[in-house]
């Protein structure tokens, strides 16, 4: 670690033009993230060609600003509208939107912003100081380890199963089935496309997420409004900046979730979507009052937001040091390195320190500025809640349609979104949890691909999954976790079976 270079990098970044680029890109990132359906990945992808003519450092400052701002921005619509601006913000809905409904939208927005900023800052510092060392561990991962990690993540998902484990498992399996449509990862041929070439690209995460979380919510709201129209009172937005005692209360959750995010970010392929859910599940598991999660607790906002922003710095580590992107936006950032003629991997650290250190510094500054900009704009974004349902609902509908379309410029995706909106509405009505379904859609391709590769390595023997210490550890931990949850549910049911109103069961 060369501190003189880092100091030089900060003097470069703090030049007015560079600061202006970071402020503009972070603001743009927050806006893109806040608009349902416009993802961080898309924002980075759209900005990449525009910044190609910038000097290299400024180009990356702009891209990183979008990346950091976008990951946080998703929480704004999640909290205010109950629609995840990005898939990574889906877990923020549970408590963020519940808080907004209770009249604490300002507090939820402020906490999400502060948690995102601090988590991003910590992850940026970790990226700066530990990237080569941590990346060396990830280099040892093969298909067995990746399968183990995905399996472990899935076992954690069961926590999000809600009242019924069987319904939770059904949701996870439905998510898996969704990913089997399209080009299969083993031989690269079409699977379950039914002769429609448009289905070769698969169902797409964004249209499915918009359907399950956006349109399904609109169905719910529409039916509720239709049956008994309620005039909303003006939402009072106050206490955006969290108080010191609140910060002390959330500090443990924030730090733990940040490190979960950084850890998951470092593992290639697992992005902020998984991190936010894992961080949320862990916060719920370790809480003294887990039953309150989902009803509007501040830890339920802090955990997913610090988890998903913790990923940003973590995901940069394998991308810069190994050339392996940690998640989708960093894959596009990797393309940016190649566009500028920069080699990624150890050569980057040997030959282009004049680029590497400003990137480190820029990431740190972008996260600090994100906190300031986010807090400043929170009140403005919170005003969205004041708009009457008769105006807001059509606008959200249109944004859902545009968001589904814009990702792949396909009207089929809009149809998919409407279909999953109806499916999501019915699943929710019958207590099927939607979050495990969404996360399993993210994890399934990784699980399938690595299962196939591992079994090929092991000549078809399932013992191959226990052939490496890291892979075996994750799988055993996953199994223990599953047993622990099932036994826990059975015991809880036995203890409280005599009590009326108990709804939690394994069934």
């Amino acid at each position: 670690m060369d501190f003189s270079l880092l100091f030089w990098a900060f003097t470069e970044i703090l030049k007015p033009i560079n600061l202006l680029i970071i402020v503009a890109s972070v603001t743009m990132g927050i806006t893109i993230g806040a608009l349902p359906g416009l993802t961080v990945t898309m924002g980075v992808a759209l900005l990449l060609p525009l910044t190609f003519n910038f000097p290299t450092v400024q180009s990356f400052l702009a891209l990183m600003g979008i990346y950091c701002g976008g990951v946080y921005g998703g929480s704004i619509s999640a909290i205010l509208m109950g629609i995840p601006g990005t898939p990574a913000a889906a877990a923020t809905i549970f408590d963020g939107h519940a808080l907004a409904k209770k009249g604490f939208a300002g507090q939820a927005l402020g906490l999400a912003c502060i948690a995102s900023s601090i988590a991003g800052l910590i992850s940026a510092l970790i990226m700066t100081f530990l990237s080569p060392q941590v990346a060396r561990i990830a280099l040892m991962f093969g298909p067995v380890e990746y399968f183990g990690i995905a399996f472990f993540a899935l076992s954690i998902l069961v926590i999000l199963s809600g009242k019924s484990l069987l319904k939770g498992f059904t949701s996870i399996l439905l998510g898996f089935l969704c990913t089997t449509i399209g080009i299969e990862p083993i031989l690269g041929g079409p699977r379950f496309t039914f002769g429609f070439e448009a289905l070769s690209a698969g169902l797409g995460l964004i249209p499915v997420a918009i359907g399950l979380f956006g349109l399904a919510q609109i169905f719910d709201d529409f039916i509720a409004f239709y049956q008994s129209p309620i005039k909303k009172g003006r939402q009072v937005i106050k206490n955006i900046l969290p108080r010191w005692n609140v910060m002390k209360k959330i500090s443990r959750t924030l730090l733990k979730s940040t490190f979960i995010g950084v850890g998951i970010g470092i593992i290639p392929g697992i992005g902020p979507e998984t991190a936010s859910f894992v961080a949320y599940a862990e916060a719920k598991r370790s809480s003294k009052n887990p039953e309150l999660f989902g009803t509007g607790v501040i830890e339920g906002v802090v955990a997913p937001e610090s988890g998903n922003n913790g990923v940003t710095g973590g995901a940069m580590v394998p991308m810069m040091t190994l050339g392996i992107p940690g998640d989708a936006p960093t894959a596009i950032l990797l393309g940016g390195f190649l566009l500028h003629g920069l080699p990624v991997g150890p050569m980057l650290f040997r030959d282009h320190l004049n680029i590497v250190y400003p990137i480190f510094g820029g990431f740190i500054v972008a996260n600090i500025l994100m906190g300031i900009i986010g807090i400043s704009l929170a009140r403005f974004f919170a005003r969205v809640m004041d708009v009457p349902q008769s105006i807001l609902m059509p606008i959200i509908c249109v944004l859902c349609f545009i968001g589904s379309y814009a990702t792949r410029l396909s009207l089929l995706d809009v149809g998919i979104s409407v279909f999953f909106g109806i499916v999501g509405f019915f699943l929710r009505r019958y207590d099927f949890p939607l979050s495990p379904m969404l996360v399993s859609i993210i994890l399934a391709p990784m699980l399938e691909m690595n299962m196939a590769n591992a079994l090929t390595i092991g000549n078809g023997s399932f013992w191959v999954f226990f052939s490496t210490p890291i892979g075996a550890t994750f799988i055993i931990l996953g199994i223990i976790f599953l047993i622990f949850i099932i036994v826990g549910r059975v015991r809880k049911k036995e203890i409280s079976s005599s009590k009326p109103g108990n709804k939690e069961s394994i069934l």
Binding site: I186, I223, S390, A406, V414, A452, K503, L507
Partner: protein
Amino acid sequence: MQISLFRKKELGNSVIFISIGIIFLILSRGMEADVYIIGPGFFPRLISASLIVINVVRFLVIIMSSNGSTADVMSNSRPLYILTILLISYLAGIIIVGLSLATVLFIYVLMSILGNRSLFQKILIALAVTFAIKAIFKWVLVLPLPTGFWNIF
């Protein structure tokens, strides 16, 4: 009475999931690979078989259990049909007349259904939202938006 209705619907949805599992199980037959240990059909088979097993268990449990969840079962399906038809019409409208005109009409109609009585507000919001979307997506982000069969809007 409501519990009984709910149990019926629970049985119904477990049958639907079992059927989905069976369909995918049948469709994944024949997807084998020569070189690889497992073919592209292995994963769907594993998943659909698990879906069938889990929902058969659910089905049996629902039949045997005396109590059931009291989740909110919709009594009036009319709003669901209205919104579904509206959304499908909007999608069809985008394909036929393009995003701009379809959006103006969709917002106007939905606002009317939701009880907005101000003609001026409905027209203003429909036009403003459409213009904002066009400005952001077409002119700033340079995304080609659907223009319908006649490429007018």
